[in-house]
């Protein structure tokens, strides 16, 4: 992973000093709420319902075991002993004390971590595929480009006060695991016919109140222009994006209002001034960053022998886990492991301090001391030898980290909702609990096949309900909590926004509604047809009839 040099560290330490000063001015009344707001947000600090919420950046989801240990100790010392993995691969702490946040940031900086630009109207943490660098379907490892974007966007003087937040995602594989169509900018790395590296550029995707699938503005752009092009897009957005209404301020609204072609023209006008300028990526610059992401020192293993070792274990629970929570690796004899944060004792995406320590240890033992966070609110150990999988599984089981449901119905995405968030219409976590309790029969879940169920507590869509195969959205009706259900949303391969099934339901009705939808699917599916494919084949009517009939 990227290792900090003296300059990176200098910048972090100056940032901590700066924020300490800002906090002091705020506490002494020199800075008003309004002035302090953008400053604290750009340091990841929200003021929430019960306590402040602090979002810690995990650049494109990559962490060292040392960083995991630090997080564990911070959750013990500054919070209630657990953290939450967000859908944008960051960590959130729900209970830090305002006054102590500068100290917390100081401690984070000791392990090269920070909260820079994890919220506020600025360029946020760039996200990517949790299997970057190891997935067999990878075209180009996206991480060096994410790092280049991280550096370019960090404390960029021009873009710290944008009309609204700005999120970039990068995909380097055939199948998109980074949701690039629902980001302000989505980038897909690809080669042209001559084998030159470039990038497809999408703009104006997003969820929230107005879900939009991003539009292509460049089908292929030479990689050396990546940063100057991003700069041009951001400059157009910074100047023309709406600032009169925060619900209309995202770039998606601007792109829609202008039309993609006009928007592209405006970008090209800016870009003509920036192109081939200082921001042009030289081969050396790319190579320097790529050097940080060299392949791990893998052993040369004999795939058949490794498979034979693995086949010795015939414990059915292990085999289930092996099948669901591990996946193929570029290198023979290795697999990538999804560490489930979907245990019944915790909210989806929550991880305790002890689990963090445990995971750090397992990363050291089995996966070159690195771990990753995922968009599905799980974690990943990306480089595990197949012969170690049984030992790893045993250890994960002890720590409640081996729920064998990765990709299945109960591997839900769920926002913090009304239990924590002051914007919520409804409590989302109890709904996810109820669904998990109702569908606790793993064999049934396996039979249903992969299903993505996403829950948001309000239309801000932090739980990505629009692009869940099943989406659940908390709505408020005359002060009461209700939930709207949608079907057919999809993140990857021809992304789609789900269709609303009909009138909303009370929280207690939701498990039964889901059960009816699933029953209907089982009746309708043809052979091994996936849930999402059945919905797209038959439409939502048959499901509507069953649920409301």
């Amino acid at each position: 992973m990227y290792t900090y040099n003296a300059n990176d560290r200098q910048l972090l330490s100056e940032r901590v000093t700066q924020f300490r000063g800002q906090m002091q001015r705020y506490l002494e009344g020199e800075l008003g709420e309004e002035q302090f707001r953008p400053l604290r947000l750009q340091n990841g600090l929200y003021i929430q319902r019960k306590a402040p919420m602090l979002r810690i950046a995990v650049p494109y989801g990559l962490l060292s075991s040392q960083q995991l240990r630090k997080l564990a100790s911070l959750t013990r010392d500054y919070d209630k002993g657990y953290a939450h993995v967000s859908t944008r691969q960051n960590f959130q702490l729900n209970w830090p004390e305002l006054e102590r946040v500068p100290d917390l940031l100081g401690e984070l900086a000791e392990v090269d971590m920070h909260c820079i630009q994890t919220s506020g109207n600025c360029i946020r943490n760039t996200t990517t595929d949790q299997f970057a660098g190891v997935s067999p379907d990878e075209v180009v490892d996206p991480r060096p480009y994410c790092e280049l974007i991280r550096q370019w966007s960090t404390l960029h003087p021009e873009f710290a006060f944008l009309p609204r937040k700005f999120k970039i995602a990068v995909c380097g594989s055939q199948s998109d695991r980074a949701a690039i169509y629902s980001h302000d900018i989505g980038l897909a790395l690809q080669h042209d016919r001559q084998g030159n590296l470039g990038v497809q550029v999408l703009v104006g995707g997003g969820l929230g109140r107005t879900p939009v699938i991003g539009s292509e503005i460049e089908s292929w752009l030479d990689i050396k222009h990546l940063l100057s092009y991003l700069e041009a897009v951001l400059r157009v957005y910074n100047q023309l994006g709406r600032r009169d209404n925060k619900y209309k301020a995202r770039i998606k609204i601007l792109v829609r209002a202008m039309g993609v072609d006009k928007f592209r023209e405006a970008v090209h006008r800016e870009w003509s001034k920036l192109k081939d300028g200082d921001n042009t990526l030289t081969e050396k610059r790319i190579e320097d960053v790529r050097a940080h992401f060299r392949a791990m020192p893998y052993e040369q293993l004999d795939a058949t022998a490794e498979a034979a070792l693995l086949a010795q274990h015939d414990d059915p629970i292990f085999k289930n886990w092996l099948k669901r929570n591990t996946r193929g690796h570029k290198v023979a004899g290795y697999r990538a492991v999804t560490v489930a944060l979907k245990h019944r004792d915790l909210a989806p995406g929550d991880i305790t301090a002890d689990q963090l320590d445990h995971l750090a240890e397992l990363a050291d033992r089995f996966s070159f001391s690195e771990a990753r966070t995922t968009h599905h609110q799980n974690m990943v150990l990306a480089d595990v030898r197949e012969r170690d999988l049984h030992d790893l599984w045993t250890a994960l089981q002890k720590a409640n980290l081996a729920t064998a449901n990765a990709g299945y119905l109960t591997d839900m995405i769920c926002c913090p909702g009304g239990d924590f968030c002051s914007l919520a219409n409804a409590k989302s976590i109890p709904v996810s609990d109820a669904i998990r309790d109702r569908f606790d029969d793993l064999d049934y879940l396996y039979d249903l096949g992969p299903i993505e169920l996403n829950i948001s507590g309000c239309m801000n869509a932090c739980g990505h309900h629009h692009i869940g195969h099943i989406g659940i959205l908390g709505v408020d009706k005359k002060g009461k909590e209700f939930f709207q259900v949608s079907l057919g949303g999809r993140q990857a391969e021809s992304p789609k926004i789900g269709k609303i099934l009909g009138p909303s339901f009370g929280a207690s009705e939701i498990p039964e509604v889901i059960a009816k939808i699933l029953e209907r699917y089982v009746e309708l599916r043809q052979e091994d047809e996936l849930f999402i494919d059945t919905i797209h084949r038959v439409g939502i009517e048959p499901f509507k009839e069953r649920v409301y009939g």
Partner: protein, 153 residues
């Protein structure tokens, strides 16, 4: 008249502030964008956040002062305006005025602003400290001085 921080010195503002109601702009007066359009011989112009600087770039040689009037510190358009003008070759004084935060002055400076109109809300010593809050930066330099500290190459 008010005071201006410029290149490390605090000076009395030698210019009269822009006033849209002025019939003509006095000598050593700052014109609004409309007044400048009516009389392009003016040497000082004030640009509001929602105004387009591209007209100005036609006659930059003429201009000695551009004042970026920031009405709301959350409105980041002035940052782009500043870079726009500098990239177009403007070498005169580029001044920030209005409602900006001490915490923004280094960003403004790195976008090309070299003077700040001081208001009661900003302590001079604090502002000067804020100008050197960061000794390193990831972005490419706009001038030679920051080239030395840039990380980017």
């Amino acid at each position: 008249m008010g005071k201006v921080w410029k290149d490390g010195d605090i000076i009395e503002n030698p210019w009269t502030a822009a006033d849209a109601n002025n019939e003509g702009v006095p000598s050593r007066g700052v014109g609004t964008l409309d007044q400048w359009r009516a009389d392009p011989t003016l040497t000082a112009v004030e640009i509001k956040s929602d105004e387009d600087v591209s007209d100005l770039t036609q006659s930059l040689d003429q201009l000695r002062l551009v004042v970026l009037k920031i009405e709301d510190f959350n409105d980041g358009r002035s940052f782009s305006q500043a870079r726009h003008l500098r990239e177009a070759g403007f070498t005169g004084e580029l001044r920030a005025a209005g409602n900006f935060l001490q915490d923004q002055v280094q960003y403004l400076q790195r976008c090309g602003v070299d003077a700040f109109e001081l208001s009661a809300d900003i302590k001079i010593s604090a502002m000067e400290a804020a100008l050197s809050e960061f000794s390193v930066s990831y972005q490419m330099p706009l001038d030679e001085r920051s080239a030395e500290i840039s990380l980017a190459r």
